[in-house]
């Protein structure tokens, strides 16, 4: 099937900066369990060290990977300030002092003020909450829905598989930002839930493909065939032999997707279709600031920096996890 080679990661290609990473790279995870590439290590058959399980081996690698440690620390920090922003920002993100509008940094206000004279630092800190909430909720939803549907498609095959593949194709066929604009422009809610719902709606096919792929691969493994021949039931097969194979790729895709979903939310908010005031969102603040980029670039740089670092942290985390879980790419 030539289609299976095609990385159709429609989610956010082009411009929203929300593309799902790891196209092809995540795909290679489906082909586990893989040996070292031929010739990359010592000749085949050379026993090296004591064997370790995939997970403990991965954990062993991760703890020593500075990229992982750094991004994990950043994420922990972000989650904490998303829950308790007061910890590091004592001000009020809504308090406006028009007299100070667009002013640069001054004592007590290290990032300066925005067009309405609100403290940029406080708003940047409070903005984390919306981004993290959308990212975490959308990822959880897309990962659950996607692995459930994809896993079933891969396991049962047949018409169910074809139906789901076509359905996934339909969602892939819609340009993400466009769909988001159309869908969200008619929603009046000021909560994060329409945005979360929309991202789940367009995000699940990507997870479902990965899950389906690894389930199909796992199903063909000799040991699964053997278990089946020995009379293991469907439930047992799924839980004991197949699901564990699909978990690693899904985790990797989901971690990276989390970063891209945050970027997608910001992009939609920037275009006026995502979150709406009074929610404090980096996307909205960047959008407002973009008009004044010549006169007051600080208004744009701080929220933009915070957004980029957040996205980067999740993507790097996912990347590190993938490297650790995929023995082929060492």
């Amino acid at each position: 099937m030539p289609e299976s080679y095609v990385p159709k990661e429609a989610i956010g290609h082009g411009d929203g900066g929300s593309a799902a990473l790891a196209i092809g790279e995540a795909e290679s995870l489906e082909r586990r369990p893989g040996a070292a590439p031929p010739g990359a290590g010592p000749p085949a058959g050379v026993p090296l060290g004591k064997p370790r399980s995939l997970w403990s081996d991965a954990w062993h690698d991760l703890r020593r990977n500075p990229v992982f440690v750094l991004s994990a620390l950043v994420i922990v920090f972000l989650v904490i300030i998303a829950i308790w922003p007061q910890l590091i920002a004592t001000g009020n993100p809504y308090r406006a002092d028009l007299a100070k509008a667009q002013q640069g940094p001054q004592p007590g206000h290290p990032f300066g003020f925005d067009t309405q004279g609100r403290d940029v630092y406080t708003r940047v800190v409070y903005g984390a909450r919306a981004s993290i909430t959308v990212g975490v909720c959308a990822t959880a939803g897309a990962a659950l829905l996607g692995s459930l549907l994809g896993g079933m498609a891969g396991f049962f095959g047949g018409w169910w598989d074809s139906l789901l593949s076509r359905l996934a194709d339909i969602f892939f066929g819609i340009p993400v930002i466009l769909g988001g604009l159309v869908f969200l422009s008619v929603v009046v809610s000021t909560t994060v839930w329409p945005v979360v719902g929309f991202i789940v709606l367009l995000g699940w096919p990507q997870v479902s493909r990965i899950a389906r792929g690894s389930v199909v691969t796992a199903k063909q493994n000799d040991y699964v065939q053997a278990a089946r021949a020995l009379g293991a039931g469907n439930g047992r097969l799924l839980l004991r032999h197949i699901a564990p194979n699909a978990v690693a790729p899904v985790i990797v895709v989901a971690t990276i997707a989390l970063g891209t979903y945050i970027a997608l939310e910001a992009t939609l908010s920037y275009l006026g279709a995502g979150l709406k005031p009074p929610t404090v969102s980096w996307g909205i603040d960047i959008s407002t600031a973009s008009t004044y980029i010549r006169s007051a670039p600080h208004m744009l740089l701080w929220p933009a920096g915070a957004l980029s670092i957040t996205v980067l942290a999740f993507i790097m985390l996912g990347d590190a996890v993938r490297d650790a879980l995929d023995p082929k790419l060492r």
Binding site: P2, E3, Y5, V6, P7, A10, G12, H13, G14, D15, G16, G17, A19, L21, I23, G24, S28, P37, P38, G39, A40, R166, I170, F171, G173, I174, P175, V176, I177, L178, G179, L181, V182, F183, S185, V186, V187, A263, A266, T267, Y270, L271, G272, I286, S287, S290, I293, R294, P297, L300, A304, L307, S308, I309, V311, L312, I315, D319, K328, L329
Partner: protein
Amino acid sequence: MGRYVIRRLLQMVPVFIGSTFLIFFMVYALGDPVAAMFGDRAPDPATAAQIRRDLYLDHPLWQQYLHYMGQIFQGNFGTAFNGQSVTELMASAFPVTLRLTIVAIVIEMVVGIVLGVFSGLRRGRGIDTSVLLLSLIVVSIPTFVSGYLLQFVFGVRWGWAAPSVAPEAPWNELLLPGLVLALVSLAYVTRLTRTSIAENAHADYVRTAIAKGLPQRRVITRHLLRNSLIPVVTFIGTDIGALMGGAIVTERIFNIHGVGFQLYQGILRQNSPTVVGFVTILVLVFLLANLLVDLLYAVLDPRIRYA
């Protein structure tokens, strides 16, 4: 081969219907196009009903959809509410976006493949690590951020490029926007090429090529690259459709009057015929690009034969 194409075309039909219906549903069922025409004023009920009849909006949604699709296949995309025909809008917008897309694709191909080959061949060394890290950073910066930054630096501070593009959108003014549009894909192409090269560098046939005594350059270009680029070409193919539909942000930043710009305006003003018409074309482009990629596969990889 012919049968394969037909089978794929048939497979595309439900996807096409599904995608366009989804958009149609969102625009016509979730929103209220008539109310949007009147803006904040409450429409006169009789006039509104008349408009509904004229626009076929008094029928059930599926009939509206069928009617609309029937019109489209006769080349009638309807009229935007300002009186301009949607086809006219398309004729002015698509060439601009096409040029922008071409610029972006060329940039991502050339730069992405070169970077990917270099880092893939030096896997694990300094240059590889920096390229990987850089590509992650590029992916992490949303386009609307990188767009403003590059516009500010190159366009405003240094004056190397026009900060906004003239309505005719000449090629040279599209270089900077093209780069902005390409950035994220560029990072992907780099990573994809790098992974592919690194994986294939240890392939048996590469070892054979070395054992044949071929010069390194020939081993890389003729044997390694040829095989490694298959997934990359595929990615770039599917990217064409995605870039065209995804240029909303870039076109907004650089004030380019292309597809994204028209769509954005259409959505803001709830200009339903514009939105559905443009999206329909974009979905078509996306599907055809995917088909093209599938066919390209057979050319690039003789092992794949279509039955």
